[in-house]
């Protein structure tokens, strides 16, 4: 009964002559949380951005819920998709960025309801009602009319999560969601993510928060220099790492 939400097959990505991803294979089942660990420059953020085709890949295939991302395969021939088709694919994949990337000219609620109304053609009243519920769910029930510049980093990131959830995604991608936050604001954001995982959301999280990885992740993947070094349960990878490289990394961050 398991459904593969993400199926990445030998994904390669180069920037110029620099090969950032050298053949990544990994799968995420529906409802699972996968945490990506690795030193900076290991390619984990790039890989995340390849999943929703913010970056094009140079080799391999990425399937999200069975759909090939960014391309259409006809027999042996691969066709680039039209931008509108790629946009349609992205609607089902939520993404949360390290630097929030909220729309600064819109209030918290307007940020959340912009895409449901403009992209999904939801009625303004329905989108607003859902948007209010989502903001309440991330603990910002009293901040609807605040602009991003009036919110703390942690609050902004929770608005960003609500904004992504408003599209009712089947997969959520988190790109170092707490790295730009003051330490005392990290907890609120992680709590929201923890609740989301409990409710069965499929998530891929790039993070350095080991506590979160240990508690929430079903699978932890350690990447280095564009390759998956080690993958397994949090106990296997975090507590009993098999590879020297993983051990060195864990020692450096703990």
């Amino acid at each position: 009964m398991t459904r593969l939400m993400v199926d990445a097959r030998s994904v390669r990505k180069t920037f110029g002559s620099n090969e950032v991803l050298k053949g990544i294979n990994l799968t995420v089942e529906q409802g699972q949380v996968l945490v990506l660990l690795g030193p900076s420059g290991s390619g984990k953020s790039t890989f995340l951005r390849c999943i929703n085709h913010l970056e094009t890949i140079n080799g391999g295939r990425i399937y999200v819920d069975g759909d090939l991302m960014g391309y259409r395969q006809a027999g042996d021939v691969l066709h680039e998709m039209k931008p509108s088709a790629i946009a349609a694919q992205r609607r089902h994949i939520g993404m949360v960025f390290q630097r929030f990337n909220l729309f600064p000219h819109l209030t918290a609620l307007e940020n959340v309801i912009e895409a449901p109304i403009g992209v999904n053609r939801e009625s303004a009243a329905a989108a607003k009602a859902r948007g209010i519920k989502l903001l309440e769910r991330v603990g910002l029930g009293d901040k609807f009319n605040h602009y991003p510049s009036q919110l703390s980093g942690g609050q902004q990131q929770r608005v960003a999560i609500a904004r992504a959830l408003a599209m009712e995604p089947k997969l959520m991608l988190f790109d170092e969601p707490t790295s730009a936050l003051d330490p005392e604001l990290v907890g609120d954001v992680l709590n929201v993510m923890r609740d989301l995982a409990k409710e069965g959301m499929t998530m891929i999280v790039v993070t350095h928060e080991m506590g979160f990885a240990k508690e929430v992740a079903d699978t932890v993947v350690f990447m280095d220099q564009g390759l998956v070094v080690e993958a397994g349960t949090p106990e296997e990878v975090l507590d009993h790492p098999k590879h020297e490289r993983t051990r060195a990394f864990l020692n450096s961050v703990l």
């Binding site: 913010l54 729309f103 009319n145 602009y147 599209m167």
Partner: protein, 302 residues
């Protein structure tokens, strides 16, 4: 009042007073010399200040300015987007357009459009290689000097405004585009709803400049006999030979119009500054700015 309140005599600035008095003296000297000059006839100035022809000219000047500016702004957005598109052909066309219209004098362009009839005595608009013709006639009839003037001003202004719009678009953080893409927004939607509203903040101040510059450039349409303010003034002075007096009249109205047209800029800046002009990133502290931003008390929705 506390014991440790700062009670001090304010620092005196005698030179400010001295220079202020000197400035007023110099200004009144200039005004007096103009006023008392025997070559300026004040009766003529007051007679023509509200002359119907002058007022008609002023109205036409505003109409030409607003229409040309509207056309130019629309063209500018299209040119800027073309320039920033990945399509090399669109890029080239946009750069060539900007290069051409910025690279030749406005006066030359006005004369060119005004005398288009010399190059093309008749104009035909239709579908090439078919018998379908939408418009056909004498160029001078189809393109009266007013239309020619508006075309000249719009195209020239579009070239400058395109660079302003492009700078505005480039000023928006790249993360905005990515966030919009991740939400499944199309490129056009992102431009309209996310990028341009933020770019406007950067675009409006220089466009205000362009607007005022355009208002004054309309005077150049005198060479193709468009009956705007400056043409009307020169036509009157050609008859009564009171050139200076009518320049004063025209100058007065140009000043009035540029002053009035500067007001909407402030309103626009306020509108597109929303979300940016609030201070403080870690709390609700803000300076009263406009009435659009209200701090909610409790959980009331927008």
């Amino acid at each position: 009042m506390n014991d440790d309140d700062v009670v001090a005599k304010p620092l005196r600035h005698p030179w400010r007073w001295v220079s202020g008095v000197l400035l007023i003296a110099a200004l009144s000297g200039i005004v007096y010399s103009l006023w008392s000059s025997p070559s300026i006839n004040h009766n003529i100035i007051s007679k023509y200040l509200f002359d119907p022809k002058i007022l008609q000219g002023a109205v036409l000047t505003v109409v030409i300015t607003v229409v040309s500016m509207l056309i130019a702004t629309i063209l500018a957005v299209i040119l800027a987007v073309m320039r920033l598109s990945p399509n090399p052909l669109l890029k080239l066309v946009s750069s060539a357009f900007v290069g051409f219209f910025r690279g030749t004098p406005l006066l030359l362009q006005i004369v060119f459009w005004g005398y288009l009839g010399i190059i093309y005595p008749t104009l035909t608009i239709g579908i090439p290689f078919t018998d379908v013709v939408f418009v056909h006639g004498q160029t001078s009839m189809l393109l009266p000097s007013l239309a020619a003037g508006i075309i000249a001003l719009s195209l020239n202004e579009a070239a400058y405004a395109a660079e302003i719009v492009r700078a505005g678009i480039l000023s928006v953080d790249g993360g905005q585009k990515e966030a919009a893409a991740s939400l499944g927004m199309s490129g056009g939607y992102t431009l309209r709803r996310i990028i341009l509203p933020q770019a406007m903040r950067v675009i409006i101040p220089p466009m205000g400049n362009e607007f005022i510059s355009m208002l004054k450039s309309t005077a150049l349409l005198e060479v193709v006999a468009v009956l705007e303010l400056y043409t009307q003034a020169t036509m009157i002075s050609a008859q009564n030979l009171a050139q200076v007096e009518l320049l004063v009249v025209a100058g007065f109205w140009y000043l009035v119009m540029t002053t009035i047209l500067s007001i909407p800029q402030r309103q626009l800046e306020k509108k597109y500054g929303r979300g940016f002009n609030v201070s403080g990133t870690t709390g609700g502290r803000m300076f009263g700015f406009g009435n659009r931003i209200k701090m909610p008390r409790g959980g009331t929705a927008a």
